[in-house]
Amino acid sequence: MEKKLKLSEKKIEKARTLAENITGKIQNYIDSHTTVAVERASLRLLGADGADKNGVPVPNIIADSLKDKCGFGLCKYYLNALAKTGLDVKELNEKIAEGLDISKIDMADLKSVEIKAKEEIEKLDKRLEENVSYRNKKLSEFAENEKKPWIYVIVATGNIYEDVKQAKAAASQGADIIAVIRTTAQSLLDYVPYGATTEGFGGTYATQENFKIMRKALDEVSEKEKRYIRLVNYCSGLCMPEIAAMGAMERLDMMLNDSMYGILFRDINMYRTFTDQFFSRMINARAEIIINTGEDNYLTTSDAVEKAHTVLASQFLNESFAKRAGMKEELMGLGHAFEMNPEIKSGFLMEFSQALMAREIFDKHPLKYMPPTKFMTGDIFKGYAMNTMFNFVSKATGQTIELLGMLTEAIHTPYMQDRALAIKNALYVHNNIDGFLEEIEFKKDSTIRKRAAQVLDETVQMLSSVKKIGLFKAIESGMFADVKRPPEGGKGLEGVFEKENGYYNPVEKYLKNKLGIADTAEAK
């Protein structure tokens, strides 16, 4: 794509280098730590699943009985139980749900644990490989019907079976991506509920069974529409790595997955979040799941004009963290948003400039562009007009993933017709302005070029300051989203463990090996 903003390549390079420096410091910490959620995710990938009669998931039962062993890695105990009992994974899960305490089983020699590990990892690799190749096969089979941007809508009824109806209808109207929004506050649960669910507030529980139900429905509608319909969920919160594991196994295609969102907006401890995001991104990278980062949220708490550079700075950081987790650019759906006050004179020019700036700087990345929310009111008619302007910028600047604005934003979770009207609006604009950017260029002193240059300058400045004090301190002082979080504060710190000598995790080893990540930090 021809670059039209003529941004300084040198400054872009500088921002990338600064980001690498900043995340490098954090990565040293990550490499020498694990979390209870990383351990539970590893167990899940080895086959641990199910729940006891009180609904406590098997991975949690295991982690609870081995609380003080997290620093050594919990997989060993599960594999040992398989080796010693001779049960298969399903049978063992049932026994654990019925009360078998695997921490009490004598440890076999490491060799038989290794043999079991090899068996289960082979099964895992086969399953993930099948998912990846099925998706790629369908994407190429239906390639001629692929639209750009991909149209992304949300379903959020609380009932997975009702969600299925809404999702199928949306897909037949033209949606390419369905996100099942999670129930309020699931991000703060330190376990993933089990089974199909029909009750939730403002969304539907993310469970492996719900993933499976929606996947099946979307596969059916994909065949009918001759478009591969992507499924999204939320890989964030205290169970970030576990959701990644479940999504990888059930062939989700995208995951909301940000390196700092949980810290800033859910008050989750920063050590926990940084460690969890790394592991979850390795899983996503292996399963070729596109991540969506959450920079749009910054602009709901801060001013979209004044704080535009915080979005770009965070995109560079998210990119760098993702790279460290072995992720290709083609999987990095960096986020940004159309969130300026609609009353600003020439605000559209700034929105256009920033969206194009993101496109030009991150040219291989499937950028995720978010609609107006902060200035949406109960005036659905004005809101519909604002969404039209958003659709224009999105298409004209070549965004990849477009989350459609709903005219009833700020009123209720979307009704079926709200979604249909949003899709109609987007399809109209996308079709009508096709080829727009190829027709135009920008004057040297134009607002559009100057605005992007200014945001890039401010970003380099900001990243320089962050590098000086370190990312932990930067977050503590409120440099992102105007939210201040102390390093020892927030939820989930008690679930972070330093890796002990002899830490054993065959899943981590498999992922690093597969993704070509050097296994630098073997314990202390």
Binding site: A185, F265, R266, T300, I411, T413
Partner: protein
């Protein structure tokens, strides 16, 4: 008596636009059903001006209807929490003159609700739409606790910092979750015998002053509210309570 009806282009025509979805497949029968449905709502005339399929099982309609139903405007009872808001400067002057100290306000978006947009608009320094938030008011100590704050925690904090007023924000209203949460908040305060100690204000897009009063708050504010509206209510109410004591 002052009967009023919706106004389309002639006084008293009672013209209203509607849009809705029915769980039937698109076609002439669906349109006819939609028309009957609108008539059943009390519209003597009904025009289905647009119909289109949303899927094989659902159809969307845009309709216009005219109704004879009316409301007697004179019999409607409602009063706003604040008739005319003071400016930020006036609020500060009012506090200085009448209380001779800074007043303390704590606020949060409570329960499971994760949306900070409302409480931020009222409390944060920057405010919303060029109306500064309470943090900017020199004579107000404002503490914004953010979102997903349990009712217990908010009350605990209000006691700890000796707050004059508590602001509660509620955005999510699905399945009336806000009503349950707000009621629980009032019950907790009453159980602790703290109800009278604070001025209680609730805000959110689906909140109004009448609903707030029914639940037990001193005032409720809906969308379009700015910090000065809330501040004006609080200082006037404080003044009123102070005068009652004298």
């Amino acid at each position: 008596m002052k009967p009023i009806k919706a106004y389309g282009d002639t006084l008293g025509d009672g013209a209203i636009q509607l849009s809705f979805t029915l769980p039937v497949s698109f076609g002439g029968k669906a349109k006819e059903a939609a028309k009957i449905y609108v008539q059943k709502m009390g519209f003597k005339s009904a025009d289905i001006v647009h119909a289109e399929p949303l899927s094989e099982e659902f159809t969307f309609f845009v309709a216009y209807g005219k109704t004879d139903n009316y409301v007697d405007y004179d019999s409607v009872e409602y009063s706003e929490a604040v008739d005319k808001a003071m400016s930020m400067d006036e609020v500060n002057a009012f506090i200085k003159q009448n209380f001779k100290r800074k007043i303390v306000i704590v606020g949060a978006c409570t329960g499971f609700d994760a949306h900070t947009v409302g409480i931020d608009a009222i409390m944060n320094m920057k405010g919303y739409n060029h109306h500064f938030g309470l943090e900017r008011y020199p004579m107000i100590e404002a503490l914004n606790m953010g979102s997903q704050v349990p009712n217990e925690k908010l009350i605990e904090q209000a006691v700890k910092i000796n707050a004059d007023a508590i602001l509660v924000s509620q955005i999510v209203t699905q399945k009336d979750t806000h009503i349950k949460n707000l009621t629980n908040f009032i019950e907790l305060l009453e159980a602790e015998k703290l109800r009278k100690r604070f001025i209680l204000v609730v805000g959110g897009p689906r909140i109004n002053n009448k609903l707030a009063a029914e639940i037990g708050f001193d005032a409720g504010f809906g969308s379009g509210t700015y910090a000065e509206d809330v501040a004006t209510f609080i200082v006037k109410k404080m003044y009123e309570r102070l005068s009652e004591k004298k």
